[in-house]
């Protein structure tokens, strides 16, 4: 306890000077802030977006959704901060941490882009609690949450690898059983998405060693048109299933699937639900429950149970935090072998019999 107090004072020394002059009786608030949640008052949570911004139909929206769900259950006041400029993260973080009106009980930072800035700020503001999505900073006041993108992508590969040599027909969309060609469309060609790609390839190869995977990157997460073009090119080249890891731009892939009358695999959320217009081509989605993660941390703060979430949390197949779900419309038509393969590979991964390439954070080379 003494330890904690010292750290707090030291850290607050600079910040408090300013706060004191700003006034409005924050003296008491400061002292009790960390215990606020427990004492039954309103819990204030801020969420800062990744450079993709909210509305990405991917992890920004999912993370937000989790907090909104929590807010329905608990007395939570939510502040949404959209910041698409990475160089501002340091400032945004410290401005939020210093804020007294309201005094935030938790600041959720979406995506690894916040990591570097948080390394400084977690130390600078030891009384502030942080949740970092997709990375971690080793500090007592940080909860790092990473989802096993590689594991779910492996499963997506299993799905595609299983189906590419099988027959399927749904509302005029078909598969070509004569070749084993599938596709992958990524957002930015970097470590993070490379993990999706390689695990997907590994998953498909686990089913069928001869599978041919066509790969393309858009260069960003917004250009649906390019996503469409890449996917179309892959369908042209014989791919009959394309998996995307391109956030909002991924829609273009589904559109291309409809034009080519082939199939696609969605990402992050069950996209056959979130994008019902494309139900007819979405064979399945690699889903990660970011919303559950943010809700869990929000709950822990409300219930003053920080220890349960503090530290690095890698959530994978084992924790049922990621999985492949089959499409609403197409799923029922898939043969049982799909579910069998998915289950078998899941057990093998959890049991350590399969080593999925890369890590939750990305590929390290």
């Amino acid at each position: 306890l003494t330890d904690d107090g010292d750290g707090g004072d030291g850290g607050d020394g600079n910040g408090d000077g300013g706060d004191g002059t700003a006034g409005d009786g924050t003296g008491t608030g400061d002292g009790t802030s960390t215990g606020d949640g427990g004492s039954g008052g309103t819990t204030n949570i801020a969420i800062v977006s990744s450079p993709a911004g909210f509305g990405d139909r991917a992890f920004n929206d999912l993370a937000l959704e989790g907090l909104q769900n929590a807010a329905e259950e608990y007395d939570i006041e939510l502040q949404q901060v959209e910041e698409t400029d990475q160089s501002q993260y340091g400032t945004v973080q410290s401005r939020l941490a210093e804020s007294q009106n309201p005094d935030y009980d938790l600041i959720v930072l979406v995506s690894y882009n916040h990591t570097q800035a948080l390394q400084t700020n977690a130390e600078e503001y030891p009384d502030q609690r942080w949740m970092l999505i997709n990375a971690h900073v080793e500090q007592p006041n940080v909860a790092g949450y990473t989802w096993a993108n590689h594991e779910m992508s492996f499963q997506a590969g299993v799905l595609a690898g299983t189906m590419t040599t099988r027959e399927l027909s749904h509302e005029g969309n078909t598969l070509n059983p004569d070749n084993a060609t599938i596709g992958f469309v990524g957002g930015v060609d970097g470590a993070l998405i490379n993990a999706f790609e390689r695990s997907y390839v590994a998953g498909a190869e686990w089913v069928n060693e001869d599978v041919d995977v066509r790969v393309g990157y858009i260069g960003n997460y917004t250009d649906t048109q390019t996503a469409n073009n890449i996917a179309s090119s892959q369908y042209d080249a014989g791919a009959d299933i394309v998996y995307h890891a391109a956030a909002a731009a991924g829609q273009g892939v589904f559109q291309a699937a409809q034009d080519a009358q082939r199939f696609a695999v969605g990402v992050d959320a069950d996209q056959s639900v979130t994008l019902p217009d494309y139900q007819d081509v979405i064979m399945g989605s690699a889903v990660k429950y970011i919303n559950r993660g943010t809700a869990e941390v929000a709950q822990a703060v409300v219930e003053d149970n920080w220890e349960s979430v503090q530290g690095p949390n890698v959530l994978g197949l084992e924790e049922d935090a990621v999985e492949v779900v089959l499409g609403q419309a197409v799923g029922p038509k898939l043969p049982d072998v799909v579910t069998q393969n998915l289950e078998e590979s899941k057990q093998a991964i959890v049991g350590g019999d399969i080593t999925v390439p890369c890590t939750a954070g990305g590929c390290q080379d």
Partner: protein
């Protein structure tokens, strides 16, 4: 005459900002938000607290440097739309230099200062060289610099991202970020407790503006450059080699843009990352420079104005639930009105509030 026009520019800047804010407030109100709160938050966010001021000044520093870079080129009649790209490669050069040389130099203040100087020099070198490309292309291949510099912006961003992500990303990290610069490679905050603003940075920017103003006004090189911008044929008549001047101008402009990159890397970011997530200083700088009539000293107040808008805009983003894009739009309006001094001159004349008869 000169004083009148300085006053006039100032009045126009104020008027266009006010008009844009007014329009913005109307849009805010029309979209069902509280307009008064919006404006109050904007001002408070810019100047309300010490740390808000620090943030304003930090943005000012960057806009001042990039604005001066733009001003140099525009004064010579060269449209350097590529300050953003030059700034990006400049900052990259700083980080690479510092990371590469740090193991060979002492740690602590001495090493820090040395590394910062070397890193800054590298930034200016690389920024200048990168800007020289469109300069050479304009001079020797008649390639329109507006196009080439825009293309080079895209290319700078793509290549730097590639290099950072595939060659400079530390073991075990997944973010496309380089390693953090050593902690002693940083500018001290002094009066401002901010970790990303330093009075020294602002000082460097101010000094740059003064030096550039001096070069343009008091040296032969500046006379040649400005004359080229006013009237290319007359400059050639006076013995100015137009091709060399284009290349030199772009290089000079790019060096200042590179310096901005160095400040960004050292003072603000402390590492390097995907440039597409960086602020658009290089574009905002065009408006800043224009507002200042491309006068390096005029860039100082212009940068302060835009710095304040930036800081206020960010503050609004996390205090009100007004979408952040609205603030960006309002800043765009300021730029639009700044580009249109004639609107205010006419209004001034009509209302009898002055404005010269031309």
């Amino acid at each position: 005459m000169v004083r009148a026009s300085v006053l006039e520019r100032f009045a126009i800047a104020v008027a266009s900002t006010l008009l844009a804010l007014l329009l913005g407030a109307v849009i805010v109100a029309a979209s069902g938000y509280d307009a008064v709160e919006f404006v109050t938050a904007l001002v408070y966010g810019a100047f309300g607290t010490i740390s808000n001021v620090a943030f304003t000044l930090r943005q000012t520093t960057m806009l001042l440097l990039t604005g001066v870079a733009v001003a140099i080129a525009f004064r010579a009649g060269v449209f350097n739309i590529g300050v953003q790209g030059q700034f990006v490669v400049g900052g990259f050069a700083t980080v690479v230099t510092v990371l590469f040389l740090a193991p060979f130099l002492p740690t602590g203040v001495v090493g820090g200062v040395l590394l910062m100087l070397l890193g800054t020099a590298a930034a200016m070198l690389v920024g200048g060289a990168y800007a020289a490309i469109p300069g050479v292309m304009k001079a020797y291949a008649d390639a329109n610099e507006v196009i080439t510099t825009i293309m080079l912006n895209f290319i700078a961003s793509g290549v730097v991202f590639y290099l950072v992500d595939s060659h400079l990303r530390p073991e075990g990290a997944s973010a496309p970020n380089t390693e953090q610069l050593p902690s002693y490679v940083d500018l001290p905050g002094f009066a401002f407790g901010s970790s990303s603003f330093s009075v020294i940075g602002l000082g460097v920017a101010l000094l740059t503006a003064v030096v550039v103003a001096f070069v343009l006004g008091r040296t032969r090189y500046g006379y040649d450059l400005v004359t080229s911008g006013h009237q290319a044929a007359a400059a050639a008549y006076a013995g100015v080699d137009p091709k060399r001047t284009v290349v030199l101008t772009m290089t000079f402009s790019g060096m200042v843009a590179g310096l901005a990159g160095a400040m960004f890397a050292i003072m603000i970011l402390g590492y390097y990352s995907d440039p597409s997530t960086f602020p658009r200083f290089g574009f905002d700088a065009i408006a800043v420079s224009l507002l200042a009539a491309n006068n390096p000293l005029g860039v100082i107040p212009a940068a302060l104005l835009f710095g304040g808008l930036d800081a206020g805009g960010q503050y609004i983003g996390f205090t009100l639930d007004v979408p952040r894009q609205l603030v960006d739009g309002v800043v765009g309006l300021v730029v639009l009105f700044v580009a249109t001094p004639e609107l205010f001159r006419m209004a001034g004349r009509r209302t009898g509030l002055g404005g010269d008869e031309e």
